[in-house]
Each structure stands twice: as structure tokens, then as C-alpha cells.
């Protein structure tokens, strides 16, 4: 099912083997992980700087990738810069390993590197994600790479890049406060349910990428390293492990994680983030957005029986 590749070294126990006939070496004519070494060096320098200044956006020379802007080129470049032969890669899109995008990106890395891939969060060392954080808590030593469309959290309020640069530099976040106040004045609650801005390490305000607000608490003091890449906007930022990440809110209107009030139709879980699926017959189905999590829940229940 998963077009994984057989690595040179002995595969980890849970890596799937594919029956498809694939070459053992990286694709012919391409450097390891597609990018040339100079580009990787440039990316790594940007990443080091980003890690040193949590939440601060570092510009980088975004390269032309074999897919258009808006399809994860930033995340791919970050992954390509950090991936190594010993890594085990997981790629998810909205929590799922088997959407077209996730599949394509995973195959891209399979073809240009020789790393093992997996769908199991616990087995991965490197996870590239679009718009979700896995339900399984991450651990030290793992790296999360987020795909970010708009790295500038103030963009909607202040479209001028030069101005937002100055605002971040002088820590003048009045705009953001105003937006939050305005949401409560207009809607009675903070209207942003995804891409809810966070304050990293008590200093910079960053966009967590369009993950649901439900996922924001997972970022706080996460043991894993979190890297963010925006290809079109050409920015990289990072949150080192165990860094404080606070969602912006008010004392009397705290940012609470809203439960959806349903259980997953497949595994019965009530604590994970659920996707709403419309069936052909007009009924709706609620299932775990994180497919790996759902699978693990079902397996656990199967064992229990």
C-alpha cells in the first residue's frame, strides 16, 4: 500500500516493503535529496540561525522545486536539508499518510534519498506535515517539519513586509492584540480557529502554520525540534525542543481547546481531532484526522478483544 523502498541497511522492524520494482540507489542524475550541497549548506545555516532565535523568521534563497509554490516547497526544502541516511521519514497531509500530496512527497524523498519511510509516528525520526500535528506525543530526537503558506502572522493586519519586520524587531505587537480584541468584540470569542498566532519563547509572535487551534497546545514544550519552511515566501523559522509556546489570548477569554463532541466512527476515540466526511447518501461520518493514530487505536482494541 505504501510505496516505500527497501533501504541499503537493515530496515527497522515496522517498515513496509513494497512489491513495486524500484532501484536501490537515489534517482539517476540527482544529488542526494535533490538539492545540491551548497543549497543545503545555505538552508542549514538558515536553520541554525532560526533555532538560535526561536520564532524569528529567517529569509532563505528558496529554490525551484519540482512542484509549484503552494504545494509544500518550503517544507520539502527543509526536509531535504536535514534528512540523512539513518532517518525514517513520515509525511502527512491533514493528518493522513495516504492523500495524494503526502504520497507524492514521500515518493519524492524515496526516489532522491534512500531513507526508510513509515506511517507510524512512533517510528519516524523526521515528520513532514501539512496542517496538523500528530496525536501521538512526539519525543526527543524527532524533528517536525511544517509546511507554511504564510509565515507572517501579522500579514492580514499589516501587509507591508518592511513594516512587519520593524514590528517584530521592536516587539510592537499592538496589531495582534487589536485583532484578538476585535474578534471578541465582534464574535464573542476569538474567531481564528486555525493558524492561531503563538508567542514563542516569550519574544516573537509566529504563525504555527494552518494547524487547527486544537493542536496549538501540543507545541508548548514539545520534546521534538519543530522546523517551519515557507517556500513561496522564502522564510524559515524554528522552535527548539522544550520551548514555551503560548497562544495569544485574554485572561477572561482564554484560548480553550474545543472538543468537537463526536467520537471517531472507526476507533471510537473522543479526544483526537476529527474530520467530518460527507457520505454519498448525505450522512456525515466523523473519523480521526490522524490516520496513524486511528489505526493504532483500532489495533489496540483488536488486541484487547
Amino acid at each position: 500500500m505504501d510505496p516505500t523502498r527497501a533501504p541499503h541497511t537493515a530496515p527497522p522492524p515496522h517498515a513496509d516493503r513494497s512489491a513495486a520494482a524500484q532501484a536501490d540507489a537515489p534517482a539517476e542524475g540527482y544529488n542526494y535529496a535533490y538539492l545540491d550541497e551548497r543549497t543545503k549548506r545555505m538552508l542549514r545555516r538558515a536553520l541554525l540561525k532560526a533555532v538560535a532565535i526561536p520564532g524569528h523568521q529567517v529569509p532563505f534563497g528558496s529554490r525551484e522545486m519540482p512542484l509549484a509554490y503552494g504545494w509544500g516547497t518550503g517544507g520539502i526544502q527543509v526536509t531535504a536539508a536535514v534528512i540523512g541516511r539513518g532517518d525514517v521519514l513520515k509525511v502527512i497531509d491533514q493528518g493522513s499518510d495516504d492523500t495524494t500530496n503526502a504520497v507524492n512527497i514521500r515518493e519524492f524523498f524515496a526516489r532522491t534519498t534512500d531513507v526508510a519511510t513509515t506511517t507510524r509516528t512512533t517510528d519516524a525520526t523526521l515528520i513532514q506535515t501539512r496542517h496538523r500535528i500528530p496525536e501521538t506525543p512526539l519525543r526527543e530526537g524527532q524533528i517536525m517539519v511544517y509546511q507554511v503558506p504564510q509565515p507572517e502572522p501579522l500579514y492580514k493586519l499589516e501587509p507591508r513586509r518592511a513594516e512587519t519586520l520593524a514590528l517584530h524587531a521592536v516587539e510592537d505587537y499592538g496589531l495582534m492584540n487589536v485583532k484578538l480584541y476585535e474578534d471578541i468584540a465582534q464574535w464573542g470569542h476569538v474567531e481564528t480557529t486555525s493558524d492561531y498566532p503563538v508567542r514563542v519563547n516569550g519574544r516573537y509572535i509566529a504563525s504555527p502554520s494552518p494547524i487547527p487551534a486544537f493542536d496549538n497546545p501540543k507545541m508548548d514544550h514539545m520534546p521534538a525540534l519543530q522546523l517551519f519552511g515557507a517556500g513561496r515566501e522564502k522564510r524559515i523559522y524554528a522552535i527548539p525542543p522544550y520551548t514555551s509556546v503560548q497562544s495569544r489570548d485574554f485572561e477572561d477569554h482564554p484560548c480553550t481547546v474545543q472538543t468537537q463532541g463526536h467520537a471517531c466512527a472507526l476507533c471510537g476515540c473522543t479526544t483526537s481531532y476529527l474530520d467530518e466526511i460527507a457520505n454519498d447518501d448525505g450522512s456525515t461520518l466523523w473519523t480521526c484526522s490522524d490516520t496513524d493514530w486511528c489505526e493504532q487505536q483500532q489495533l489496540a482494541q483488536g488486541d484487547a478483544r
Binding site: 493586519l157 520593524a166 524587531a169 521592536v170 516587539e171 510592537d172 505587537y173 499592538g174 496589531l175 492584540n177 487589536v178 485583532k179 480584541y181 476585535e182 471578541i184 468584540a185 465582534q186 489570548d249 485574554f250 485572561e251 477572561d252 477569554h253
Partner: protein, 265 residues
């Protein structure tokens, strides 16, 4: 209490400013010096091109003079050089101890958010994180500037010019600044609106013991609001002193010309 024994709040020393690209060698502001004391209102009058707005912008730290200095005494009694200080500190001062009322309210407000958000912004910037208290403060200030507090959630786009100016004033005064700079705060408004607004400014400034520098081309505004007045011509301060003395017993030829040119209704 003897006014001269208190320390000044703002001191400008021999300020000169030239716009970049100005090839004629003409300074927009030439060798301007002034002292401003706490709670005192200083009017800067002059005609278009006299340099009064440029002087104001130099005092605010928005324009860097090519000569001279502007020093401000903080609430902590420490003196700082307005142009030498880091941008971050200047912006912080601009949000807390200073205020700037723009001639066109739209430049000094966030037009895209509600009145309440406009007033609350400075408070939030200072760390106020309780929505209820923010709202109460905003409503309180709206009534102080004689705006209908029921319109707290409306955008200033729906306000008239006079109302926008009031909102701008509230937005600036909410952090109880020690110094407020005003650039022609009532110009362009209807006469009756002007009168009401000037009255409001006069009372608030007196009550809150705010020091203010008010740029205006209208001598009546100077007489109404200011303790002292500076007269500018061609970038230079040609006369200064007690407002009623400058206007009633002008010494400099230009001041005499200005005063005699006013059309009385």
C-alpha cells in the same frame, strides 16, 4: 511654585533639518531651540512652509536633524536623546509617555478596527490582558472625549471628522502621556466642531497636566490652548514668549504681520 525651578520635560538645542535631496542648501528648520516644562502647552505658529510641522516631527523623533539634539526627561527622571536612542525604546515611549495627534485622524487611527480596539491597543501593549477591563477603559475614555460609548464597536470609518479626532485624542491619552504633540489638530473641521474640540483639548490637557506642543497656523487656537507660543518663519523661530504677549505685543516684524493679517469675524 516657581516655574523655572522645575526641570524641563523636553529640550531641543539648535535643531537644524534639511530634507534629503534639497539642493538649494535651504534648511527646513534652522537652529531651533526650545524648552518645554511639564504641564505647559506650547503653540508653534507660522504659515505654510515655515517649518513648524518639520520641527514637530524632529521633536517626535520621526525626522533626524542634521545638527542639534532633542532630549527628553523620562518618568524615571533619566534624560534620553530622542534620536540616539534605539528604535525599540523610541517606539515604546511613543506608545506610553508620548502621544501624537495627527492632522488627519485616519493617519493616527486604525481605521479597520473598532473604536474600542483603537483605544485599548496601547493598554494591551502595556500588558493588559483582561478583555472586560479593556472594554471598560475604552468606554470610560470615550465618554471623557464626549463620544457615545454605545458606538464602541463601530469602526471609525463611520465617524465624522470631529469624532475621529476625539477618538484619536482618547487613543493617545489613555496611557496618560506626559507629552503630546499635535499637528494642526482641528484644521479642516467645521468651525463649530473645531470650537468644541479645542475646548475638549484645553480641558483634558489642563486636567491631566499634560505638556503639549501644538502646531497651528491659526492664532486663535494658540491663544486658546497655549501658555507660550513660538513664531516660525522660514525655518527659524523669530519670536517666542507668553502667548498673550506674543499676540498682543508682537516685537518681530513677521509676528506683527501675522497678527495684523487675521480676519476677525
Amino acid at each position: 511654585m516657581n516655574g523655572t525651578t522645575r526641570a524641563p520635560l523636553l529640550q531641543a538645542e539648535a535643531l537644524s533639518f534639511r530634507f534629503p535631496g534639497e539642493t538649494q542648501g535651504r534648511d527646513a528648520v534652522r537652529h531651533a531651540s526650545l524648552d518645554l516644562y511639564p504641564g505647559e502647552v506650547l503653540a508653534v505658529v507660522g504659515e505654510s512652509g515655515s517649518g513648524k510641522t518639520t520641527l514637530l516631527n524632529c521633536l517626535a523623533g520621526r525626522l533626524a536633524p542634521r545638527e542639534g539634539s532633542v532630549r527628553y526627561r523620562c518618568a524615571s527622571d533619566e534624560w534620553v536623546d530622542v534620536h540616539a536612542m534605539p528604535e525599540r525604546q523610541r517606539r515604546l515611549l511613543a506608545r506610553t509617555e508620548w502621544g501624537f495627534v495627527e492632522q488627519h485622524a485616519a493617519a493616527g487611527l486604525r481605521m479597520g478596527v473598532s473604536a474600542g480596539a483603537n483605544i485599548g491597543e496601547r493598554l494591551m501593549g502595556l500588558g493588559e490582558r483582561h478583555y472586560g477591563r479593556l472594554r471598560d477603559s475604552a468606554a470610560d475614555w470615550m465618554s471623557r472625549v464626549e463620544l457615545d460609548a454605545a458606538r464602541i464597536d463601530e469602526s471609525p470609518r463611520h465617524y465624522s471628522g470631529g469624532m475621529r479626532q476625539r477618538l484619536q485624542i482618547a487613543r493617545n491619552l489613555v496611557t496618560r502621556p506626559r507629552l503630546v504633540l499635535m499637528d494642526e489638530p482641528t484644521t479642516g473641521l467645521d468651525v463649530s466642531v473645531q470650537a468644541k474640540l479645542l475646548d475638549l483639548i484645553r480641558l483634558l490637557v489642563a486636567r491631566m497636566h499634560v505638556a503639549a506642543v501644538v502646531v497651528t497656523h491659526d492664532l486663535g487656537v494658540a491663544r486658546l490652548l497655549a501658555h507660550r507660543t513660538l513664531v516660525m518663519q522660514g525655518g527659524r523661530i523669530v519670536e517666542h514668549g507668553l502667548t498673550d504677549r506674543v499676540l498682543d505685543d508682537p516685537q518681530h516684524p513677521y509676528t506683527q504681520l501675522l497678527v495684523s493679517s487675521v480676519v476677525a469675524p
